[in-house]
Symmetry: D2
Subunit: 344 residues, 4 copies
């Protein structure tokens, strides 16, 4: 199998390349760039010096390169420009940007502040939250790989929503992310001296992952609701933790909550359900495709707290993309993704 | 004025010493230690070498040293042992530990897992949340200085509770702290390689600051409620941010919320109310006694998000203690506390 | 006294403003900007919200504003453009950039890769390494404030060079700096995810502080030599440590080295000489104007190691600038600079 | 093949387990602990939850467990207690501690301040600096795996010493390490708030890796010399950089230096020689077994600077141990070690 990557100089692209290079079913990984074609990879990415010496190719060469699959790790708004022309080719596509995730055009416009891709392509795209969309992914040709925050939040909260264990309208999601989630392009908000030793909140009530989460709550748990969702930047490179709060419906106990989670995830390799009130920390999933989950039932307030954490560049981006590729091609779902978290 | 500090080798104590040494009304700062009496200060605390060369004195010498005020920065459980004997002396006391904060003995036992100090002393103690208890502090003899999380949370949420702008039972407080909040004693949970580049949640639903916040909501806003409160450790040294969520009562707009905050805090030097949805970050208060506040009204969910941040060692500990001292002695409240935040 | 600052939105400028605002002899601090005139300060610098609400003024207004002193914290190459016109005014100037430091024009061209300011002005400028140039600073009108690395290195090594305790040609300086030294402008090399949890070396053998150190060794210790000097970026915001190695001349013992240091620095408030082999760390000077020094004599190799550390934004920039101002105006040299280091 | 690990709860042990678990020739990894036998692995090591659920076994069981190889990652002084009894067993041993590295007993006593293991065992032990000792490692039964600092320093400097390109007595090694090098046991010197955002120097001229480096310079380059070597703690989890300085002998040019390095390392997969003056940073080898090297010839001082960096837990510990195992058993040397560095 031959795979292509568009956007290898971004952080998602780098991780994709690391994973695909070690994937035993991939014989070759070809790299494309719109702006840096012709450049030697290791000139741009020093850590790959002598490991992967190859030149970045032009996007125009892509269709004639005989790929089986292409991953696009270009930013939102960019992939929607060139991906449409590739859809008719005989290759599968996994897009890591947000362009094809939102089904409703007006919702897309409202949160992304730009025009969506053609509706027919959006309709065709499968939202690749693997554990919840496995069958569709298997048949899919164009996968809209989920956002990092939605992946963590949805895996943690969907079982309780679907089992009607919580009141949907009470759901509050407080999310925290490492700074690599902001990408590889320098800005004041990612300047070391500005953010080191400091915790910040940003895009209050305005993050474009809000409609993505709401849409999946509707599609996966059949619940139509609005959520409150906020995001914080933590002075660390990788990792996302979502702390979620909701009111319990009547009949729930810690034991029954644990049973709900286990019924959904016992056979899922990448979701690790911990005992109630386990002190999770993001580095316990660093470099791995795991999503770790715990919860706490508070009898004083009849509220539940659900906590989930992922590596934003793995399960939140490149890892889940490879997981989706494995599903699309009928390979073992964990192939190339079984390495333990790296700690410390 | 002569001031004493018990526990200068802790982080709160170090900051107390820095502030009091620069305070123009304090002529001498005497240092006490139960375990390290006789030791040269700068042997324990290298950054004070040549700045403050003095020996730590025994606690037994304290009563004969003619102090006007003593600050106790010993850990919870320790100060309740020796502070009672000092209360009858002719000196004022500010305790930075949790021992005298909780009025109800059973509540104290339930959350602190130990016996409270004598009830008569607890009754006598004034909870020193300066902006909300100024008059009591002024007359106080024994101040229970508030905890770091409660200070940030209460300053942010009390105006809305008191004005009945939110439904109390819907209140969720998601708190994040730098690691200095865990003190100067090494442990696995504060070991650099364990917590660096990682975000963790701890004491889920079990933090002893929960009853402290609930008690102040009752005393300051006359509301009897239970809250959901969780705490996270952020890989940074200082800083606390609380992100608080609640359902709005009917009549609230962004403008009216701003007006509520301004009506409470316009004349408060240490509380800075920012415009709606300002992207706060903890380092904007680093090294200062400020509590910064912002908020966001979400019309989609009829919920409000309130964000507050402080330096946990200043407004959350030593800074507020000095502020209380200033009030107790009728000095200008900002004396010794006006230095700008240090950035970056 | 009225002071002006050019470039307050840079990190050196921010610290200058913090220090001057708290300086009891300064009645007003006026802020200038070439590119941001007219803007409200706290729009640019959130941590100063409500502390210092004032507008940035145009550089053109400077000469008519009746200042006694102006600090220029603009980048190298910029200050040489507008400072010449100010020199004839009746005001004193302290320039924090590198433009006026190097006396020899060809050396400047070789290391800075641009044209130097007019030679007459360069000749007039006093290199403001206060402890070693106090008398010249006192009479100076235009001060070239030393670079951060040279300040740390020179204070540590000059006594040994002047006393001929080491062989000059054997001197190797290995320097490490926090990332704020690279300034407030975002770039790939200061992007959080790029540099966090990583140590890098840069400008190997090519740092423009090399000729500055060599020139001062000649002027202060009367030694003409070439040094080897390298610089590393450490994932921390502030702090510089220089570790210096040299061969000892015959007659040196640990005791005699200590005596040399003490003979130079016993009456210097800002230089703290520690016992031999003290484990220095940069945070012990954080937020202060101290330069801490220690050393170790290695009998096995007949070599000495000298270690010095400073806060690059204080003694390495704004702190030393204020120290120079104090000297220039005959004020107590420590005025406005006596606050303890902030730890942790 | 069956492998055992003693000390899996240390950082070296964790990485050994991660590597061996993914090694295709290892069918089982058995874990031993002297103090924690009987405990479930993931109770101690949360990041391995559900990945590797197994109990820690007692050391007594080791000899009857039919292992082919055992890795000891116990601290210095501990392994020398129980390893001797295992040497006669029919299994190979790789010790990651310092006990068996120093051949001369008096030197060991002087630097380690304790008694060495039996001299016969020390004599038998092979110093496992793979690139320089491959043939001995291949025949070895007991490998003393090199220290982290010596690995980085020796790979960088041995070619120049052996080729007599530098004067040995002029060699100065300035080393910097991430804090995981100090191990998993909490202490004041590794307490987050103590070391975060701070760079420290420690054990000045007294580090026990000094004799280890000197011994290898003698054995590998046939040069008897004393070095100056200092170590710094950098606020990052992993990574070592050594910056080395030496005077050049006459005939050296940048080109000839590059040729020397290439002649030694062109066929070494794990040593990556970069162009002259490449800006190395430790994260470019994070999570990999690479040692990256660059250099700079300074014609002004006739001195060379050599820079090398490694991941202290991989090439500096577990990675090199697995590399040695591969050599001992005649497997491909890169097996289980080819994963790219993880960035960012």
């Amino acid at each position: 199998m031959r795979a292509g990557i568009i956007g290898v100089t971004g952080y998602g692209g780098m991780e994709l390349f690391r994973l695909l290079s070690a994937h035993t079913e991939i014989t070759e990984v070809v790299l494309y760039s719109s702006s840096k074609a012709g450049i030697e990879l290791s000139e741009e990415i020093q850590h790959l010096y002598h490991v992967h010496d190859q030149k970045l190719r032009s996007l125009k060469q892509l269709s004639s390169d005989g790929l089986d699959i292409v991953f696009s790790s270009a930013p939102s708004g960019v992939s929607s420009e060139f991906l449409p022309s590739l859809v008719d080719e005989n290759l599968k596509i996994i897009d890591l940007a947000g362009d094809f995730r939102i089904k409703d055009a007006d919702t897309y416009r409202a949160w992304y502040k730009k025009e969506p891709p053609p509706q027919s392509l959006v309709n065709q795209a499968v939202y690749g939250l693997t554990e919840w969309k496995r069958e569709e992914v298997q048949k899919g040709k164009l996968i809209a790989n989920p956002g990092c925050y939605p992946t963590a939040a949805l895996i943690g909260i969907l079982p309780l929503l679907k089992e009607k264990a919580i009141h949907p309208s009470s759901l509050v999601i407080d999310a925290k992310s490492g700074i690599s989630g902001a990408g590889a392009t320098p800005s004041k908000g990612t300047h070391f001296s500005q953010v080191n030793d400091s915790l910040g909140i940003y895009k209050i009530n305005q993050h474009q992952h809000i409609p993505e989460i709401e849409q999946s709550i509707q599609f996966c748990a059949d619940v139509d609701t609005k959520i409150t969702f906020n995001t914080h930047l933590v002075p660390m490179t990788r990792g996302i933790m979502t702390t979620m709060y909701a009111e319990l419906t009547d009949s729930v106990t810690p034991r029954s909550v644990k049973e709900i989670f286990e019924s959904y995830y016992d056979s899922e390799y990448f979701v690790r359900v911990h005992r109630e009130k386990a002190n999770l920390f993001t580095k316990q999933v660093y470099g791995s495709n795991f999503c770790d989950v715990t919860f706490a039932v508070d009898e004083r307030t009849n509220r539940i707290t659900v906590i989930s954490c992922i590596d934003n560049l793995l399960k939140g981006a490149a890892g889940q993309a490879v997981q989706n590729m494995n599903v699309m091609f009928g390979m073992e779902e964990t192939k190339g993704l079984k390495s333990s978290p790296m700690f410390p």
